[in-house]
């Protein structure tokens, strides 16, 4: 496949609330990925950083920040911001540089030190910023949007809060096996039900926390990988960075209203579904080829929606999949074998990269106790604020 790039290395800084700078997390993750790849930092030709907006200037220019922390060595540098999709856009940028022949080996890094509690918009009076406006006018936090989707699923598909809790139970069980996860204790359905309601019907244990953390990848051309002695590396076969189509008919963060459909009929598939579809088309595979998936479980209910959007089941079938255990470790199609955001929490620019790290370890067969046997293909799915699609297909 001429479009493939090789994943030579993957590394993380463990997720948690460590109270240190995102630069340190990113540097540790990068060092781990470089060691995993067997590449010396001075041999990296390009570094792509996924930006965080919570670190002032160093966060806005993450590529250079990580390059400085690792020691200036003259590499090409790029910084990208796409909210939760920043990591996928960083992977895509690295891939494009490799496929264009601009670089043979590229380091991709994302890291964050997130605030406690709700994410909040950038400060100051910002009446032209939709993200500022939804907080100002409605107090519409991220969990309130997740709750709107959850309640809608209950009304349309008959999902129950008990179905949602099963997702947390499943992801906590997987996360307990992952040394990079922030939460490593099993969680019971009773514990979910006993946690405080944040935004009806979602409870504290239905919603992912904010976290610190970092993740990094070393990507290369297939030719470089061969010369480097990696004859059969994990390959990235597709990266989807699609935008929605007008009119976007599903209320999305941070919007106060949807587009009107009076002039144009909405697409039959949702924006979230189009993210995965673009990745499948580029990769030339479909949902039935998958061994596993890593999806953005900002809430338990949202994970069920992703099952449908990545084509594991028809619309409304998500709850049945989790009930029958199909998406648990040992099931037919494990989803979030890493433990997902339920176990990691959100470190925004790192998370989409961390998803690819998990695919890499699973496809290598080195995921230890949470290994999906014989894994050959996986997809990541994610959505960044303001219409940033994000999905990566990796194969072995």
């Amino acid at each position: 496949m001429s479009g493939d790039v090789a994943v030579l290395g993957a590394g993380m800084h463990p997720w948690g609330k460590w109270g240190r700078s995102f630069v340190e997390y990113g540097r540790v993750a990068a060092r781990n990925a470089l060691a995993d790849a067997g590449i010396d930092w001075p041999d990296v030709q390009s570094v792509v950083g996924a930006d965080t907006v919570r670190g002032g200037y160093p966060g806005y220019v993450a590529g250079a920040t990580f390059a400085q922390a690792l020691g200036w060595q003259g590499a090409r540098v790029t910084s990208v911001y796409a909210a939760c999709a920043s990591g996928a856009q960083a992977v895509n940028t690295a891939r494009a540089q490799i496929l264009a022949g601009m670089a043979d080996v590229v380091l991709v890094v994302g890291a964050d030190a997130a605030p406690k509690g709700f994410f909040a918009p950038a400060g100051g009076e910002r009446p032209n910023d939709p993200d500022w406006l939804r907080f100002r006018v409605l107090g519409a936090t991220n969990p309130t949007y997740f709750a709107l989707y959850a309640r809608r699923r209950m009304a349309v598909h008959g999902d129950t809060p008990e179905d949602f809790a099963l997702v947390k139970v499943k992801n906590a069980a997987a996360g307990a096996l992952n040394r990079n996860a922030r939460y490593r204790a099993p969680v019971s359905a009773e514990q979910v039900a006993a946690s405080a309601v944040v935004a009806d019907p979602l409870r504290l244990l239905d919603i992912c926390a904010t976290s610190d953390g970092g993740a990094a990848l070393v990507l290369s051309s297939m030719e470089f990988a061969r010369r480097h002695g990696a004859a059969d590396p994990v390959r990235i076969r597709a990266v989807s960075t699609v935008t929605p189509t007008y009119p976007k008919a599903v209320l999305d963060l941070p919007d106060i209203a949807t587009d009107s459909a009076v002039a144009v009929e909405p697409a039959t598939a949702s924006f979230r579904a189009s993210i995965a579809r673009a990745a499948y088309e580029e990769a030339g595979i479909g949902p039935s080829d998958l061994s596993l998936a890593e999806v953005y479980d900002l809430s338990t209910a949202l994970e069920l929606e992703w099952y449908e959007d990545i084509g594991l089941c028809p619309a409304g079938g998500g709850a049945a999949l989790v009930r029958e255990g199909a998406t648990a470790l040992g099931g037919r199609i494990p989803v979030n074998p890493s433990g997902g955001l339920a176990s990691f929490g959100e470190a925004v620019p790192a998370q989409a990269i961390a998803q690819v790290c998990e695919l890499t370890w699973q496809l290598r067969g080195t995921a230890g106790d949470r290994q999906v046997p014989g894994a050959r293909a996986g997809i990541t799915a994610n959505q960044g604020l303001f219409g940033h699609g994000s999905a990566v297909v990796a194969v072995r």
């Binding site: 509690g117 709700f118 909040a120 918009p121 400060g123 009076e125 009446p127 939709p130 500022w132 406006l133 939804r134 907080f135 100002r136 006018v137 409605l138 107090g139 519409a140 936090t141 309130t144 709750a147 709107l148 989707y149 959850a150 309640r151 809608r152 009304a155 349309v156 405080a196 309601v197 944040v198 935004a199 009806d200 019907p201 979602l202 007008y246 009119p247 008919a249 209320l251 919007d255 106060i256 209203a257 949807t258 587009d259 009107s260 459909a261 009076v262 002039a263 144009v264």
Partner: protein
Amino acid sequence: MPRKRIPVVAGWFTEDGPDEEFRLLGTRCPLCSSVFFPRQDGFCRNPGCTGGEPVEVPLSRRGTVWSYTDGRYRPPAPYPCDPDMPWEPYTLVAVELAAERMVVLGQAAPGVGVADLAVGMTVEVVPGVLGTESGDGTDDGTVWTTWHWRPVDTGLRDGAR
């Protein structure tokens, strides 16, 4: 001096007239009829439309509930609420407007909780207050006005005091 009544965002809803004439204000493209809320002045976002100067248009007063939730924890700034006062959860309602074929989010009227709502229920837009800001001594401060969604024909109109 009485508190000034100021819309939380200028131009998003009517400010004068009786409550039953209160409307959200969007814009409509004169060429393709696409409606936008919050208002989209200056251009049309329909990719197939060459556009024209959008004109202000009042949105439908009534719609049906698409979904709903509440906020049990105090949201961060810039939500206007006094950190010294006990936290009062608010209810959010996403409402489908049939004529505009769009969903508009808003807070529910005071006293309307999630137990009073159901997907598909009819609601109407009414004027409301988002919060108040204390004055500096020369006046009594500001009342931030906004829009609220309120169930129709449930008796809440009289019960929600």
